[in-house]
């Protein structure tokens, strides 16, 4: 079941919560809406579900126009952040709810509920009530309840935020595996980058009701379309660029007012006003001797921060502060105050419009 959204708009009073969003999700794909709180991702999900009515634009599920259709006719299912289990119904009755509204015969209900609970590994708890379950168990019930109706589309609204960290990690993979096995088209909303990266096939980064970029995790991480996206999905070193020029087919500019750097071949901001050079910490190399990269500068270690498997090396190049990340075994030899050289290959940087 493919999902097609064209120019979707939702206005609340003076606020354009969703401001002209278009995207398409292929059948069986796991698609994530990623962004900071207030970016409109949850509103967008609720528009798809039919909880809100769109102000403009269209939502199509496998060609069928859902835009004006009431919630209960859309044949999709949603898992909520608070799980939204019916407190007055047992686990069995919760899962059976969607089947009962569809007037599925009793025997079939029993069979399908049993299967759904087995799928989420909760078969033994069908007679319990939500208040007697742990957070993780409630989550699974919510999942079973959504899956048992065989929806055309599965929606998740920050389903893991109410779980503790370890459980969250586990559930990410479980949900992912389940989704792959069943092959159901899925849209997930989250503000957690790692979650989006682990679970999705593709994602859309949203800000202020608009989509900033759509793509796979590696595309978004390595080739962010804007400064906002770059900064949102991971830590960056950002250098203001001036006097960008092309010399023998290679581009060059002045970074942070001091350093002459070779710039990547591709990238925005070429020739236009102000631009930034964005460097991921893992793209920076630090060495006691010659660092061996296209761009290299003498630097001084300011601090080494131990983070477990990796460490952060904070260095000073003139007045410019940069942050590099490397395996802790490599970082162990550096001491604060030590002179080193730091550098990167031109194509490891990304040129973006500033601001």
């Amino acid at each position: 079941m493919s999902l097609e959204i064209v120019d979707l708009v939702k206005v609340f009073g003076a606020v354009r919560a969703v401001d002209g969003v278009s995207l398409s999700v292929a059948g069986g794909e796991f698609f994530t809406l990623l962004g900071p709180s207030g970016c409109g991702k949850t509103t967008l999900l609720r528009l798809i579900a039919g909880i809100y009515q769109a102000s403009n634009g269209s939502v199509r599920l496998n060609g069928r126009d859902l835009t004006a259709a009431p919630m209960h006719t859309r044949n999709l299912a949603m898992v909520f952040q608070s799980f939204a289990l019916f407190p007055h119904l047992s686990v069995f009755d919760n899962v059976a709810f969607g089947l009962r509204t569809r007037r599925v015969p009793r025997e079939e209900i029993r069979q399908r509920v049993k299967e759904a609970l087995a799928l989420v590994k909760l078969d033994a708890l069908s007679e319990r009530f939500p208040a007697q379950l742990s957070g993780g168990q409630q989550q699974r019930v919510a999942l079973a309840r959504a899956l048992v109706v065989r929806p055309d589309l599965l929606l998740f609204d920050e389903p893991l935020s109410n779980l503790d960290a370890r459980l969250r990690d586990e559930m990410r993979f479980e949900i992912r595996d389940l989704q792959r096995r069943i092959g159901i088209t899925t849209v997930l909303v989250t503000h957690d980058i790692e979650e989006a990266f682990v679970m999705s096939d593709r994602m859309a980064v949203m800000q202020a009701g608009k989509i900033m970029q759509i793509g796979r995790a590696d595309e978004i991480y390595r080739s962010p379309a804007s400064r906002f996206v770059a900064n949102f999905v991971g830590p960056i070193n950002e250098l203001a660029l001036t006097r960008v020029e092309t010399i023998d087919g290679r581009r060059r500019g002045i970074a942070a007012g001091e350093l002459t750097v070779w710039l990547p071949q591709a990238g925005a901001g070429a020739g236009r006003g102000s631009a930034s050079l964005v460097l991921r910490p893992e793209a920076l190399r630090v060495a006691a001797g010659d660092v061996g990269t296209e761009n290299r500068f003498p630097a001084e270690i300011v601090d080494v921060v131990y983070l477990g498997g990796s460490s952060e090396c904070r260095v000073k190049v003139g007045n410019l502060r940069l942050s590099a990340v490397m395996p802790s075994s490599a970082a162990a030899r550096f001491r604060p105050g030590e002179p080193v050289s730091v550098g990167w290959d031109a194509n490891d940087g990304v040129m973006l419009d500033a601001g």
Partner: protein, 287 residues
């Protein structure tokens, strides 16, 4: 140190406890004690004990008053029950500012004393009152309706008067529901009516029942409205209490009547709570 911390809350509560003991518990006990003494022309005979006062309450006259009081109360509570959900649901869907205003409008008459309200209802329902005049003026009726000095008038006036006791708790419960519950039901295929019957109603039923119990108690013990709108021909329990205590000055009987009313009230509250916990049994719901 720990000992003083255990005593402290009781020290804070002590003044209020004393006042309540003197002004609440003792008077009730006094009435209870009086109810077991016989009444004589010289006053209460504190030396003798009897159950005669209670026995008198079961004779046909007093029994008739009780039945009438019950009849009126049940009618008012039943109609209020039917009206409560539509109004509460409507209210809960209004924008917050409008909600506050409407709640204010509903609450304000409660803070005006019932005698003034009884006056208002009198002016509305009597033979040449507002309602009859308007209906006759619009040619809806030929001769005036008898809307006062009968049970109908009492019921008509009590419904809005005590509505707030059901409405407020129910509205609070409806507003307090996690909206995700209704969304979950909706996405699972339940149309709006099914969402109400399967999700909203079961989850708000305890508050609803509690509100109905209070409403019923208020109906049973109403005084000013039945007095002016029902009149002497339609005695209810409170008017009877007035006659017995302040006119006949038969305090033992009056005390027995008070005890009976109180017992009835407590039984109702208990029954209401049992109903509420039955409805939430094993569901892990807060009643």
């Amino acid at each position: 140190m720990r000992d003083s911390a255990a005593r402290a809350p009781w020290l804070f509560a002590a003044p209020l406890l004393l006042v309540m003991a003197a002004g609440f518990v003792w008077p009730l006990l006094q009435a209870l004690i009086n109810s077991f003494h016989p009444n004589t022309p010289q006053g209460i005979d504190a030396g003798q004990w009897t159950l005669g006062n209670y026995a008198r309450l079961f004779d046909s006259f007093y029994g008739g008053v009780l039945v009438r009081t019950l009849r009126i109360s049940i009618m008012v509570t039943a109609i209020s029950a039917l009206l409560a959900y539509p109004v509460a649901l409507f209210l809960a869907r209004l924008p917050p500012r409008a909600q506050s205003l409407v709640i204010l409008a509903y609450v304000s008459p409660w803070l005006v004393n019932t005698v003034v309200k009884a006056l208002g209802w009198t002016l509305l329902l009597r033979t040449n009152g507002v309602v009859n005049t308007v209906l006759r003026g619009l040619d809806v009726i030929a001769s005036p309706l008898k809307l006062m000095l009968n049970e109908a008038g009492v019921v008509i006036a009590l419904i809005p008067g005590h509505f707030i006791f059901v409405l407020l708790p129910l509205w609070a419960a409806v507003s307090g529901l996690d909206p995700a519950l209704t969304w979950a039901a909706g996405t699972l295929g339940a149309r709006p009516s099914a969402i109400f019957w399967r999700v909203v109603l079961p989850l708000t039923l305890p508050a609803f029942v509690a509100g109905l119990v209070i409403n019923f108690i208020m109906n049973m013990t109403a005084f000013a409205i039945p007095m002016f709108l029902g009149g002497q021909r339609n005695l209810v329990a409170s008017m009877l209490a007035y006659q017995v205590n302040l006119i006949s000055l038969d305090w033992p009987l009056g005390g027995a009547l008070a005890v009976m009313l109180l017992a009835l009230t407590l039984i109702l509250v208990w029954a209401g709570q049992r109903a509420a916990s039955f409805l939430t049994a094993g569901r892990g719901l807060r009643p």
